[in-house]
Amino acid sequence: MRRFSSYRVAAIAGVAASAMLLTACGSDSNSTTTPGTSGSAGSSSSGAAGGSGLKIGLAYDIGGRGDKSFNDSAALGLDNAKKKYNLPDSDVKELEAAQGEAEADKEARLTQLADNGFTTIIAVGFAYADAVKAVVAKYPNVKFAIIDDNSVQAPNLADLTFAEEQGSYLVGVIAALKSTKHSVGFIGGVNVALIQKFQAGFDAGAKAADPSVKLTDKYLTQPPDFGGFNDPTKGETAANGIYDAGADVIFAAAGGSGSGVFKAAKAKGALAIGTDSDQYQSAADDVKDVVISSMLKRVDVAVEKFIDSVKDGSFKAGNTVFDLKAGGVDFATSGGKIDDIKAKVDDFKSKIIDGTITVPTK
């Protein structure tokens, strides 16, 4: 009997909730004409156009600003541009993706930026490809850029991609030269084509520097789970496994999960290589010394150049590849851990630039 009546309660409760929601909608929307009670919060959205005419919106991939890797590299480019053009905070807006969100959420994020008056919009990450495709045509006067994708072409869209395999090749060389056990590991954040490109370059570089080197690889998650880009615990577990199996240098192409790899390296007395940003600079102080280098993917350069091009009117639609030659990828030397082998690595670098070495992408 009790169960029965609780079902009825549920039904009535449902109706009640709807009624309440509807009335709440009604009354509040009437009063929204005077949102006078708002404090400081309201100021940022109203932002009148600044003197420079640039209004920049940035849509991050999963992890957002603060991942100390891919997204932070984009954030650095934005910060540089902001400083250069002296933009007030109200002329810059950064939004962040949520794990597992719908396609409509990505579209909504870009639409939201355009609707709020941002006319220079950067989508950080290939996951935005379809969303960008849907949105670019609706805002012909807005200049868009997408990082890591060239599958969409539009007159107001710049596709900014990188030759990650070239930079990864160089850190592969570094790993092999620094490994005393002739065994190196690769940890990818998510098993997607883009990260496989990192691995292809890394493996080729390691083999080139030390043909007898043993290669181990591990991807943290499988798509559609993109959590592997932002899960230090998974990174630490995977790294422990690879170090235990005999490797002593690991290249972590895993975004925000890299910090876990560094922690494992520190605990095992081993070495690690970061990715995208110069992770020696951003790593926690107690693990800094294990980060011997980073594969620099200069998303900051791409973002800043794109903003420059919009500012000075030289915007160019279509694909721009940022490779070793263009300074789009590189290896980091902060910390001085690879000073002894830098000459050798530079030798490989010049060979890639002049075309003597062609780095595989698969």
């Binding site: 509040d28 404090g39 396609e103 996951a127």
Partner: protein
């Protein structure tokens, strides 16, 4: 039921009285108390959090409401709500039988992949193209849930454990199949796009180019079918009876093993539909960036809606409203995570509120009975039977 006679003696019986008799005022008020209290409490809790963060709660809430009124966000909200609803119905079919199908997540993602793959291979076929896609999705979803059902009835494996494990396997399997059978598009990998005959046209909504998914009608049909089957058929009664008291159900001739398997298959079949509104209405391809987490949202919404077809619809709308309207919060400097906090608080407080109201109702009934026993012993005895 809570005895209608308790409200007092009825002299003339008009339509209003009949309504009052069926839904006594006290019962209605008590019913309202739980959800209203929960939502109010959630509003209060999030107001406190917002105030602590230095934001004005009223400005935040009005921003969310304004955002929901914008045509594009409204369409997004409706679309997301129907997806949530399908997921909640799938979960609640299991709930009705005390089966905790946590595997909706894996079931729908494999099903969406299957439908996308088969749909992409087919060309032409007219209306059957969509029908085949829907059937494939339901079959894949049912098959994946059926594994857990079979394990339960033949080996006694708890469906909670097996569906969680099957979720993990589904992710790996889906990823493997996508690599094997998919094609690359830039840095993404996707199935072959579904041609026009296999797509479901959307409904226009004034003020935006965004379309309401045509799957809306399927979601409504699923809701009606769910209401009819669980509430109006012998089969639904058996499911409910098994869920409420398995021994009693067995004693009255219900084959519990068969019911368990059938309930899992039905739950999985509906779960198979979860990925289709977006697949057939918008993306037309299954890619690595397909939406995930819907199966888990479905569990929350089924709980919130208390397995009622209407309650879950309202819960789905509320859930979707909170999620989508939060997008604009970033523009007023408020972290949109506040919406996730509100979702969590509402869910918790609804569960608690229902329990509190149930206890309070019990106390009231006991008081009534006691009072009547003291006054007129004869009526009270009668009352105790109906209460």
């Amino acid at each position: 039921m809570s005895g209608p006679g308790a409200t007092g003696t009825v002299n003339r019986v008009g339509p209003l009285d009949r309504l009052r008799q069926r839904y006594p005022l006290r019962s209605v008020l008590l019913g309202l108390a739980a959800p209203v209290g929960a939502v109010l409490f959630a509003l209060l809790a999030s107001s406190v959090i917002l105030s602590l963060g230095g934001h004005s709660p009223s400005h935040v809430f009005s921003t969310m409401l304004k955002q929901a009124e914008r045509p594009t966000s409204f369409v997004d909200m409706v679309n997301q709500a129907m997806v949530y609803y399908l997921s909640a119905v799938a979960v609640s079919i299991g709930f009705r039988m005390n089966l905790f199908n946590i595997g909706v997540e894996g079931q729908y993602s494999l099903a969406a992949f299957g439908a996308a793959y088969v749909g992409g291979q087919l060309t032409g076929g007219g209306p059957f193209h969509v029908v085949i896609e829907v059937l494939v999705a339901m079959l894949v979803g049912a098959a994946w849930a059926g594994v857990a059902g079979l394990l339960k009835v033949t080996r006694g494996v708890s469906e909670v454990i097996s569906t969680i494990m099957l979720n993990a396997i589904a992710v790996g399997l889906g990823s493997y199949l996508l690599h094997k059978l998919g094609q690359s598009s830039g840095n993404n990998i996707q199935t072959k796009p579904i041609s026009a005959s296999g797509q479901v046209a959307g409904l226009s909504y004034s003020g935006t180019q965004a379309k309401i998914f045509g799957f809306l009608f399927v979601a409504i049909a699923v809701g009606v079918a769910y209401w009819f089957i669980t509430g109006r058929t012998r089969f639904g009664f058996r499911i409910k009876a098994t869920g409420l008291n398995e021994q009693a159900a067995v004693a009255s001739g219900v084959n519990v093993k068969r019911m368990t398997l059938v309930a899992m298959l039905m739950s999985g079949g509906v779960a198979g539909l979860v990925g289709l509104p977006e697949l057939l209405g918008q993306t037309h391809t299954f890619s690595q960036t397909a939406q995930s987490g819907l199966g888990f949202a479905g569990i929350a919404i089924a709980l919130l809606g208390r397995n009622s077809p209407v309650g879950m619809a309202l819960a789905a709308v509320l859930w979707s409203f909170l999620g989508k309207s939060a997008n604009q919060l970033d523009f007023i400097g408020v972290p949109r995570e506040i919406a996730a906090i509100m979702q969590g608080v509402i869910l918790l407080s609804v569960v608690i509120a229902y329990e509190l109201v149930r206890r309070y109702r019990l106390v009231l009934q006991q008081k009534d009975v006691a009072a009547q026993l003291a006054a007129v012993p004869a009526t009270a005895a009668n009352q105790a039977v109906t209460a």
